[in-house]
Subunit: 387 residues, 2 copies
């Protein structure tokens, strides 16, 4: 429902144009989200291996849940009967549900897109389903998230022809209008998605079109895919230029690593989500200041130090590298929880450091230090102004 959220900028980008990063407060039904912010992903109504208390301890203030997955299992109507998604998963802070568009159109041969919607087969049992913009909204209303997202048709950024991008972007615009018209749940905000691939004019036109509709926030879709960092930066810049005077939060869907988050914040993005910190954690990759630690490396089996000296997370405050290395080798379930707690703590702490730098007006001066902490070793470091 437009008006179901309030977004206030607390620190605007400096007049010298050295960064477009800004500090904001997003008031939602279940609480306030300070931006820039990262949203851990709880695909199946659980951020894998964690409880809500673990998430709280890691610093999470908002999570993302996947509409497609919850629609298929356990079912949105079941969750509604059980009191909604917050009660179901015992998370009492804000939740954003995606539209299901990304998952549905990622199904490859299992789906057919037409102008009215998408017909797809469940990845679980092959059963046939259909999402229209109206149905995607109805599912999210049943889930009761704080923020719903309009159904879109993302395409692979770099691998898609201009014709495909143009077609999908047009369809996304029509679906955005239908999503808004269908949405009626009080207290639930709704965000629209900008598409346009890597085509500068299409991306700019899409940003203008979507921002012309009364959404509560603007998503940048169709990125965090097969594009280069330079292509992503350029595309963000095009969209953000169109949104420069827009008072609403900007959410880049699917990004990911601390280094990528920092560059996107620098370019004016407020919200992010990704499975990456948790997924790589379950594979034994721990994020630490300056880079990555592969805890499966034999050198850690005798290392009594914590994974990260100054980290307050469950892993680092109690256990050694040696213990975590042992747990991974023994395939013990505790390994996945501890590693996930750490990577999410690192990521959310990194966002807090970015916010502190914006608040004190030192973000552009702090970029080298923050890039070092994020372990960025290569890629575009072009200044915002030159973009």
């Amino acid at each position: 429902m437009p008006g179901a959220s309030r977004f206030a900028l607390e620190t605007r980008p400096p007049a010298d144009g050295s960064t477009r990063a800004r500090l904001g407060r997003l008031q939602l039904r279940h609480g306030v989200v300070e931006t820039p912010q990262f949203m851990p992903v709880g695909t199946n109504a659980t951020v894998k291996a964690l409880t809500p208390d673990d998430l709280h301890d890691a610093g999470a203030t908002i999570i993302l849940a996947n509409t497609y997955h919850l629609y298929l299992r356990p079912g949105h109507e079941r969750i509604a009967r059980l009191g909604g998604l917050h009660r179901f998963m015992a998370w009492d802070r804000p939740i954003l549900t995606d539209s299901g568009g990304f998952q549905v159109v990622s199904l490859g041969d299992l789906r057919v897109v037409d102008d009215d919607g998408v017909t797809f087969r469940s990845h679980l049992d092959g059963s046939l389903h259909r999402f229209t913009p109206e149905h995607a909204i109805a599912v999210q209303e049943a889930l009761g998230s704080d923020i719903a997202v309009a159904l879109d048709q993302p395409v692979a950024p770099a691998a898609s022809s201009r014709e495909l991008v143009a077609d999908a972007t047009e369809r996304t615009h029509r679906w955005a209008e239908r999503s808004l018209a269908a949405h009626a749940r009080p207290g639930q905000a709704i965000f629209g998605i900008v598409q346009g691939g890597l085509e500068a004019d299409l991306r700019a036109a899409s940003a203008r079109f979507i921002s012309g509709l009364p959404f509560d926030g603007i998503c940048l879709g169709g990125l965090a895919g097969d594009e280069t960092p330079e292509q992503r930066d350029a595309t963000i810049d095009i969209a953000v230029a169109e949104l420069a005077e827009d008072p609403r939060p900007r959410y880049l869907m699917g990004l990911g690593s601390p280094a990528d988050l920092l560059e996107a914040v620098h370019r004016g993005v407020d919200l992010f989500d990704s499975v990456m910190p948790a997924r790589v954690a379950r594979n034994g990759q721990l994020w630490v200041p300056g880079g990555k630690m592969n805890i499966r490396n034999g050198r850690y089996l005798d290392d009594p130090a914590p994974v990260q000296e100054d980290c307050p997370c469950l892993l680092c405050s109690r256990f050694s590298r040696a213990y975590l290395a042992h747990l991974f080798r023994a395939r013990e379930l505790l390994a996945y929880r501890l590693a996930t707690c750490h990577n999410l703590t690192f990521t959310l702490d990194f966002m807090a450091r970015i916010r502190a730098a914006i608040r004190s007006g030192t973000l552009s001066a702090s970029l080298p230090e923050l890039r070092l902490r994020a372990g960025r070793v290569s890629g575009s470091e072009a200044a915002v102004k030159s973009a």
Copy 2:
């Protein structure tokens, strides 16, 4: 080290012989254990899926760790270099290590027993190893547990010939003497193991022999296997009769279900361990008053009630049956942690109820109610006196 623990009986069995259950306090280096007590099993220096805080919340005051598994991975010398098992796994309460005997002699074709020890192949990589009584003690001294256990040769209770039982029991006795002679770690108690299978005279002789040695506690080994409940009860009665005036704690290794624990306490046993509550939890079997709940049953998918109404565990205090049923269907890691927390909480609470009944002198009167809570539906309910 004999003398490294103190065991005081707080409530002795009643003079009327209605039960042999007793209440005790076992003082160990890392704390006090109230008996009768159940020890969760942390095979690989972790009770599967749980942190030390989870164990504490479930009511655990002592856990068991497996000497065989830790010797093979990550290695007892490594754990010693890292400060010992308590620091390694961040558990600051008592730990009992088993002797490795059960695991080693359970390896079947992978091991050869001789009078001096056991030669075996690792189940992990096939590498060749040898445990002697002295080496099993050295490994446990390196681990730094509160209670070490002498190496023994258990045999399948019901499936073993009298000759095999006699031979293994004799060997266990010689190994018990060697274990005591080898053990030297200050502050570490050492328990000896009674064998004798289901042969009444051999079991009685073994109880006499082992209790004649200066151990800090007496284990009843070679049970919780393929014997019937009646055979187990009879064997416990024989051993406990020999230990009637013995001031030391009695520990029945490998038991298990609430119903079995109750009967063994009633017959005079003080300590227990088993992987069962945690293992069945990971398969979706939840223990509740009066029986078992298979959370994989489709009927729970829409059930908003907690698994057990009055249970204070992490699962029951926050989540519904419907949510847990969903997590199990989605194979989410959180399912295993929540279910394990519950079954261990139920088991440890059940032991606390037994202790309360002993303290108030009402255990024998409370047996029907406690058996009902344990979900006992059949099996021997012979009174202690008739055994």
